[in-house]
């Protein structure tokens, strides 16, 4: 017994060592970003780098309230982060809401109705996940300029359906499938119509699933970069896009850029931790129900 106990101990110590090394590496970028966001421009470019420095909220003032203080030659490279944050909220939020309205019925139908062709639908939705987004973006760019949808919130909300609808259909479907069939059967015996089944039985039971799916879709939309890069301009600039504008031709405003990165990532990380149990489902479109 003593021998196997010792082996177990060695094994566990080894495992902890591996995990600690990996997670140190994995978290350094986050910690470093946060540290840099608290530095004055002079401390950011100090070489060799300073582990200890006097923190400042200057960068956050600039990023959150558009207050650019000091001499700042860096004030040239500025982005309107509050405006971009609102844009991200409108576009990602609007796209998620629209996709929920469009996709929820289909998810229910795919999970519950014996449609003979349902696997074809499912495959059709999945196929979009495997196309380079640019094969849609370039023609959309031309179409949007004709329809005056270029650089509008509506236009971006519409193109975001490319990623949001398939995700919602696939993931919501797995939630509807996990509701026991008997509940529907008893409802059907009591003479409820399909619409009533969906409204009074399925929707309340699926509400946590809907919330989870919505968060997953919201994160996917929030993280998107190519749509607002090519189908929008200053008026519809999102936060992911605004963060990159701190890289100017002559100078990079590292402090403000990292502060913007913190503002972009933080709300997501909080949401992600709430739904982390279902994250696998969201990432694999329900292919793995982990």
């Amino acid at each position: 017994m003593g021998f196997s106990h010792r082996r177990r101990l060695i094994k566990n110590v080894g495992l902890y060592a591996i995990l600690c090394v990996y997670f140190t590496m994995s978290l350094i970028p986050f910690i470093w970003t946060f540290a840099t966001s608290l530095k004055k421009p002079i401390d950011v470019i100090a070489a060799p780098l300073q582990i200890f420095f006097t923190p400042t909220l200057e960068n956050y003032q600039a990023v959150l309230f558009n207050i650019y203080s000091g001499d700042s030659a860096l004030a040239k490279v500025r982005a309107d982060i509050p405006h971009a944050f609102m844009n991200s909220l409108i576009i990602a939020g609007g796209a998620t809401l629209l996709a929920l309205i469009l996709g929820n019925f289909a998810a229910f139908a795919l999970a519950r109705f014996k449609l003979p062709e349902r696997e074809y639908y499912a495959f059709f939705f999945l196929a979009f996940r495997f196309c380079p987004v640019f094969v849609f973006i370039i023609p959309t760019f031309l179409i949007y300029q004709q329809l005056r949808l270029y650089n509008t919130h509506i236009g971006l909300i519409l193109i975001y359906q490319l990623i949001a609808v398939p995700l919602i259909v696939w993931v919501m479907r797995t939630f509807y499938e996990s509701i026991p069939a008997e509940i529907f059967e008893s409802g059907a015996v009591d003479g409820a119509t399909r619409m009533q089944l969906l409204r009074h039985i399925a929707l309340p039971l699926a509400a946590p699933g809907i919330a989870t799916t919505a968060i997953l879709a919201l994160i996917a939309c929030w993280n998107n970069f190519t749509f607002p890069l090519l189908l929008g301009a200053r008026e519809t600039q999102t936060v992911t896009l605004a963060t990159i504008t701190f890289i100017g031709y002559e100078e990079v405003a590292w402090g403000m850029m990292t502060a913007a990165a913190v503002v972009t990532i933080l709300p997501e990380l909080v949401l992600a931790l709430i739904v982390q149990r279902y994250i696998v489902r969201g990432l694999t479109f329900g292919a793995v129900k982990g």
Partner: protein, 309 residues
């Protein structure tokens, strides 16, 4: 088995479909499908419009200069820069995915152990995955900065090692980008494999242990075969994403230095927008689309095979 990719087969036709309650169900079900199908159907037309664009000479500045047939395709296929980018894309994907798979397997096995505090590690695992790739890339750009003011070069300097150029040097840029992509996406594979490990029932493991199998044998003979479907699903998504890598490169090297990180998506983007040649750029993406579809189809077939087994 908790894998649920669709199986395609023949659609059975019912002779008296119009009569029974099943037919009503089918009709209502199809009605329910309509709203969700609007977006993909519109996008299918957008794709066809894209095919039309590649058959014309469409410029960002001057509009359509006329029909040119397949000459864009001929130009792309005879362009050495295209082939350079195509090979680079495959090299990036191969390096990226192979390293990710190995690391992710180790990580999933470690996180599946009953260790104290393992839940905290599991939560931390997904953090890079939730970061927007372009922001993640910018963050790494800060870490990779040259001179002793950059984090990695500071560490090297402290250790008495020569400083490195990382993203700024031709022979290191691609590997630095692979490192960034591994940081961002390895957790994706690890999370799926971890979910897979948790579905493995205890009995075969116990049986193997009684038969005197050691941990190494248990992994290769028992766990790994049961994980195969999860590996394939993970690859299914990751390979395609890696072939399409854009955000991380746009945020850091934009293809440079020289052409050393100019993968297909950057090549196509630059032709279409900064160089105003929408048709040529889109043709490059059509080639990438073919590569993705072939890869996707092959992996999809494997998924179905593992499901049938």
């Amino acid at each position: 088995m908790s894998l649920a990719l669709p199986r395609l087969g023949r659609i059975p036709r019912s002779k008296h479909a119009a009569l029974g309650p099943e037919a009503r169900e089918i009709r209502i079900g199809r009605l329910f499908m309509i709203p969700a199908l609007v977006a993909p159907i519109c996008l299918s037309f957008v794709f066809l419009a894209g095919v039309y664009v590649t058959l014309n000479n469409w410029r960002l500045t001057t509009g359509n200069l006329g029909f040119v047939g397949l000459s864009n395709y001929a130009k792309v296929l005879s362009d050495p820069k295209f082939w350079h980018s195509a090979l680079l894309t495959l090299k990036f994907t191969a390096l990226d995915i192979s390293t990710e798979v190995v690391l992710a397997t180790l990580m999933a096995l470690a996180l599946n152990e009953a260790l104290r505090g393992v839940r905290v590690f599991r939560s931390l695992l997904i953090l890079p995955l939730m970061t927007p790739p372009v922001v993640g890339a910018l963050v790494w750009k800060v870490l990779f900065r040259s001179g002793t003011g950059g984090f990695f070069n500071f560490v090297l300097w402290k250790a008495g090692l020569p400083s490195q150029g990382f993203l700024g040097t031709p022979d290191q840029a691609l590997y630095s980008l692979v490192a960034i992509d591994i940081w961002l996406n390895m957790p994706f594979i690890a999370t799926i494999l971890l979910a897979g490990l948790q579905t493995i029932p205890q009995e075969p493991l116990d049986a193997a242990r009684i038969d005197g199998a050691n941990s190494w044998q248990m992994f290769w003979r028992v766990k790994l075969p049961m994980l195969v479907p999860f590996f394939i699903v993970a690859l299914f998504f990751r390979v395609i994403d890696s072939l399409n890598v854009f955000d991380t490169i746009y945020g850091t090297t934009t293809g440079g230095p020289g052409d050393t990180t100019r993968v297909l998506s950057i090549n196509g983007y630059e032709n279409a927008f900064p160089f105003y040649n929408l048709s040529f750029g889109l043709t490059v993406f059509m080639m990438l689309w073919v590569i993705c579809m072939v890869t996707g189809y092959l992996l999809y077939r494997r998924v179905k095979q593992t499901q049938a087994a």
